[in-house]
């Protein structure tokens, strides 16, 4: 593996992880603002810490997956970049739109706010994990698809020329 390839993979992994971290923390900051305003009942600091921990774990996982893909022999830099892009986009859209949307919609309801904290946490975790899973699977599909296409073409050429 060349140094530039390894460096590129590290950069892609760090970038992917950082974007995942930032996008994942945005809804939590929103939730914390609402919580400090008194709208989220008994959602505790511990609950928020668990949310942050999940986001960090997913971000580290995202970075590691992208780095691994970037250093794999059969993939090319363009493949990794596109797959990472797709992963981050799908994941960001899911988290950025669904989670705050869910929070806003729930905040308008008139449920007992004492029960709201745990319920919000469960809803957030569900949507967040579904968004993350969708992102990883779409990125994985993208990477495999591009890698297969990259591997097929030269062989096809070789057959034609013989």
């Amino acid at each position: 593996m060349t140094g530039s390839r390894s460096g590129g993979a590290v950069a892609a992994g760090v970038l992917g992880g950082a974007v995942s971290l930032i996008v994942g923390l945005v809804p939590i900051v929103l939730v914390d603002v609402a919580r400090r305003g008194g709208s989220l009942g008994t959602l505790s600091t511990v609950g928020l810490a668990v949310m942050v921990a999940i986001v960090v774990a997913v971000a580290v996982l995202a970075g590691a997956v992208i780095y691994r893909a970037g250093t794999a022999e059969e993939t090319g830099p363009a493949d990794v970049w596109i797959a990472s892009f797709l992963t981050i986009v799908v994941w960001s859209v899911g988290v950025l739109t669904l989670v705050p949307g869910l929070v806003f919609l729930r905040l308008t309801e008139d449920v007992s706010l004492n029960d709201y904290g745990p319920r919000l946490f469960l809803e957030w975790a569900l949507v967040y994990l579904v968004a993350s899973a969708a992102a990883f699977f779409s990125g994985r599909w993208s990477l495999r698809s591009l890698t297969r296409a990259g591997a097929r073409r030269p062989e096809a050429k070789a057959v034609t020329s013989s």
Binding site: G41, E73, V93, L96, T97, F104, N114, A149, P154
Partner: protein, 329 residues
Amino acid sequence: MTGPPARRRSGVTGRHWIHLALGVAVLAIGALVVVVAIYPTARWTMDLFPGDPPDIALQPEAWSVTEDAVTFAVIGDNGTGGRNAMDVARQMARTYQETPYGMVVLLGDISYNGSIADRYQEVFFDPFGPLLDAGVTFELAVGNHELEFVPSSEANQEIVRRIEAIGAEGSFYSVVRGPVEFFFIDSSTPQVTGAAGPEQITWLRGALAASTAPWKVAALHHAPYSSGSRGSSLAVREALEPLFVEYGVDLVLAGHEHHYERTVEIDGVTYVVSGSGSKLRSTGTSDFTAVVEKQLQFMVAEATPDTMRLRAIGVDGVVIDEFTLERER
């Protein structure tokens, strides 16, 4: 034997562009979700966007209250401090210039998303600054967002803070203005259907029985009759409607639901939901509905011993509903 390893392509192919397009498409769909679902929620349902406070100078104490006449305004669920709340408050100030009123009936939820101790400026002084400067007084029917969390000592302290902040007299009380006696009812959980319920019911029964005012108007947060998404507050209806009917309450003003609705007369009582002082929510109609509108609004009422004329007014000054109650002699 394995064959030679597949050659790795590092260049960008047409397939790469397709994947890029897929990513952009997902991004576009996400943006659409934001625009279609979250923006209206934030803008209208939640009133999260900031607005400019009304900057209107009003003539102080331009109203006149005699034993024979009083004018008052009504607004519910106005506690966002957002753009909608400012727009409604601005129109209230404009309406004051044409029809001065000395009292505003607040139908609860005067401070969303936090204690009024922290939000007094943005949810109360900023929107109602011109009216406060003109000497208008405010009376409060406690809402569920005054409880904020659940019935607790902290929640009760918050109710007290809000009552003190606007200078109202208590959690449930009555005031007489001209020919109207107002009964402010605390419909929050502990006061109507909870442990403290009997105390308030006993007070209300006595106050209604003792009232000699030509008009009896009850103000509370939870609507006994509503076609909104939350529907009628049946527990509140069950607890209070018999008293309203027995003691001849003419008009019941409520909030909680974020729309405007007036019922037909039900056993001699007209029920009004005036809860779109800052937030909006969808509504339907019921067999008791006379008028229903999903619009930001407040109300102005002019009462004499014989008639009480009420108007629901939108943020553009257009009258959404107008009706007159007449005293039978």
